[in-house]
Amino acid sequence: MKELSLGELGRRLLHLIVSLFILLCVTFVIGRVMPTDPVGAIVGELADPKAYEAMRVRLGLDLPLYQQFFVYVWGLLHGDMGTAILTGNAVTKDLSQAFPATLELATLAVLISTLIGVPLGLAAGLFRDSAIDKFARVFALVGHSIPVFWFGIVGLVIFYAGLNLVGGPGRVDVFYEGLIEPTTGLMLVDSLLEGETEIFWNALSHIILPACILAYMAMAYITRMTRAFTLEQLNQDYVIAARAKGVGPVRTVISHVLPNIAVQLITVLAISYGNLLEGAVVTEIVFSWPGIGQYMTNALVIGDMNAILAATIIVGFIFMFLNFVADIAYALLDPRTREAAR
């Protein structure tokens, strides 16, 4: 059994690497053939052609495409993703700053959405066509169909400008800016590590609204899927048998349905988490959140190819990695695959 699962693991890892390489190739080619002008972005609009050409050579953009690709991959293998035009920093350094901001937001969002979405989906499935089911369906539909931009602005108007309940855009209030040395890059964690509870509460008041808005978007999907999974299980013979034996509805769900839908649910949660980690571009812009979504957007605007490539690869990697983890979890949790292996 051990050999088998190791082999399987290896096969999936290989898949991951090949997919990443394909992603790299496609992004690189699109990036280089796109008619943007990174050189112009650096030297300025009014620079004379000589300065322009010199910068082009310095960036290595005068080399043939295959050579540029080779140089890039070689650097990548050595952990060098190039220098970002926008910041002049190594792209890896930029990402190590932008990514934790997104990670913090996405993690909080996925926690909130799971906590509300899963129970709501279960209840909706269990009490099909009841008031709670109807509510859950409308709730999910609204979350799915209203643009996040609108939600963000309205959320700010109500909770920030109107009710004074939450902090505004940015990760903390201005007078707290720069007071926390990034250790993990997660503001909530770092402020606690430094014992700055005041900053912790401030950071929390800033993150809670964007996190809730993102969570709502994700929740729409999670609720609907949980409901569908639950309904599917409730029609199974084993559930009917359990109910016939007199098992109450709540216990049915907790002891019978939940363990059986856990596997599928993990896939759903992993996908949601992956989506959130891609950097919720619009949310990050509305909330001036310095995450990976905003970083990528700005890089795109000025045609900063190193930054775009690196961010795409990281996002792609995360997505594939989460899928990979979900697959593994699937194999581990599903009694059938476990049995088959035995």
Partner: protein, 530 residues
């Protein structure tokens, strides 16, 4: 699963608590100025490299120049307390001042700075290179006779007066050469370090810059006039106008720039706020590609000039952003001529098109950056020109795309914007009236007129003549002649609106006066308590 549940519960607890706990909300502190703007274009804070307006605003507070311009466009002393002009050049006498590091400001620093600007040879250098200073001759022309004296000889391509204006630009900032020399890597003149740090004698020092997030300036203890009242200036990146508006209403920021016309309008006459309309000396321009039919025909260009509803657009779109003006010199500048009679006149425009042989009109592409207000201008131009039979296809793009197309002459129509580098006719107009070599081979892509393939040898010659005319009266006459000739030639770079940068301040802020060259100094700004 249990572990997961625990984590979920902890997360939920946090979420609930945050709603229950009133966060410590306060207005901005009285000794900090908080400015919200878009920092998306800020790529460097090295004054000898960056040229973008927002970067200039920041750098103008980190560095001093020899001289500066005041709000009305007059040259005023900064590091140089006085100067003497002779036929051959200018002699500057430095005042006593210190860099933030504590090093004294000496003439060696000034020479080093100008040399660095020209040898680094980035976009910023173009402003001195255009008038004959370059990496090759700088050591000869810029010298330090003694520790407190700087001598700059004329290059032969500029007058002393116009040279002073160029030295008043942020590009001529004086950097701390001792400090900077310790940060040089691979002969980069310390550029890698200075992009994200400061080494100046200005009222503030750079504490932190995180691109697209925040810039924090701290008061400099060594500033010559004593540390400024604002202990800290925070410039926060808020790309979304509506959000900026909410933050201003809530008192989380003190100054808001980059608001859309709609959001700006909500502060008109509102108690507790002040709107400042800061002139830029620049224009929103309709660039036409005179290198191809039909725009190579001056009659067609004139028809287009008569086919645009300037007044209507001024009212509906520009609002606080601009004022209709079809001569590339702001109306309040000395020697500015009135706008020509170009206004929406459908019959006249159609007649001109018929004369040019385009009775049935034609189709053109209009490229523009997808940004307020230019995107709205594009739509309005489309609607306006359709009345005279010219069909417009709008092609939107991001900054890099559109600028690349502009540089490559790959457009029919395009909407760029300009700024004046000095507050006089030449500073505003030179980019509209000078194109020394229109050939494709010249590839003078940094030149605005070249990009439009508009060949104007006479106008170029007279512009060059004006730049070298030392006599103020004669120069004034040449300025008027330049503008009249520009209009007569039916410009392929048609100015539409004089450009303003509207900003909104809370009334807690005192002493903030937006500078027309985007070099607003914040040393005199104070704030009242709530």
């Amino acid at each position: 699963m249990n572990y997961l549940c625990t984590r979920l519960l902890v997360g939920a607890a946090f979420a609930v608590m945050s709603f229950g706990t009133p966060a410590a909300f306060a207005e901005t502190p009285a000794n900090q100025l908080v400015i919200a703007t878009s920092l998306a274009q800020v790529l460097s804070l090295d004054p000898h490299q960056a040229t973008e307006a927002k970067a200039n605003e920041i750098m103008a507070n980190l560095y001093d120049r020899l001289v500066s311009t005041d709000g009305s466009g007059k040259i005023s002393p900064q590091l140089a307390e006085r100067w003497e002009i002779d036929d051959k050049g200018i002699t500057f006498h430095l005042r006593k001042a210190e860099f933030a590091s504590g090093n004294p400001v000496t003439s060696a620093d000034v020479v080093y700075s100008i040399t660095r600007l020209l040898k680094l040879d980035q976009a910023a250098a173009a402003n001195l290179k255009r008038v004959g200073y370059n990496g090759g001759n700088v050591e000869k022309l810029v010298t330090a006779p003694d520790e407190k004296t700087v001598r700059i000889d004329l290059s032969g391509e500029v007058t002393s007066e116009l040279l002073l204006y160029r030295l008043a630009m942020v590009i001529a900032s004086v950097v701390d050469s001792k400090e900077l020399k310790s940060h040089v890597v691979n002969d980069d003149w310390g550029n890698a370090w200075l992009r994200t740090n400061s080494a100046g004698s200005g009222p503030f020092t750079l504490n932190k810059w995180t691109p697209n997030e925040i810039v924090i300036l701290d008061a400099s203890k060594n500033y010559v006039a004593g540390p400024p009242k604002m202990r800290r200036v925070v410039v926060r990146h808020v790309p979304e106008s509506q959000v900026e508006r909410l933050m201003l209403e809530r008192g989380d920021i003190d100054v808001a720039s980059a608001l859309t016309a709609t959001d700006l309008a909500t502060f008109t006459g509102k108690q507790g706020y002040e709107i400042q309309r800061v002139p830029t000396g620049g224009f929103y321009v309709l660039s036409m590609n005179a290198g191809k039919e039909p725009l190579s025909n001056p009659k067609v260009r004139e028809a287009i000039a008569y086919g645009i509803d300037y007044k209507g657009m001024e009212k509906a779109i520009m609002g606080p952003y601009g004022r209709a003006r079809t001569v590339p010199v702001p109306e309040n500048f000395e020697f500015a001529i009135p706008s020509p009679d170009w206004k929406l006149d459908v019959a006249k425009a159609k007649a001109l098109l018929a004369e040019a042989g385009y009775k049935d009109g034609f189709t053109l592409n209009l490229k523009t950056i997808a940004q307020t207000p230019r995107i709205d201008l594009a739509t309005a131009i489309q609607a306006s020109l359709s009345q005279i039979g010219v069909k417009i296809n709008i092609m939107q793009g991001n900054g890099a795309d559109i600028i690349a197309a502009h540089r490559a002459r790959d457009f029919d129509l395009l909407i760029p914007q300009t700024g004046a580098y000095m507050p006089n006719v030449l500073g505003a107009m030179e980019q509209f009236s000078s194109n020394p070599d229109n050939s494709l081979k010249a590839n003078n892509a940094g030149n605005f007129v070249w990009r439009s393939s508009w060949d104007i040898p006479e106008l170029t010659a007279i512009t060059a003549k004006a730049a070298l005319e030392p006599d103020a009266k004669k120069r004034g006459a040449l300025y008027v002649q330049m503008q009249e000739m520009f209009v007569a030639q039916k410009p392929a770079v048609l100015p539409l609106f004089e450009r303003y940068e509207p900003i909104v301040l809370t009334s807690r802020v005192q002493g903030y006066v937006g500078h027309p060259s985007q070099t607003t100094r914040l040393e005199g700004v104070t704030k009242t308590e709530k």
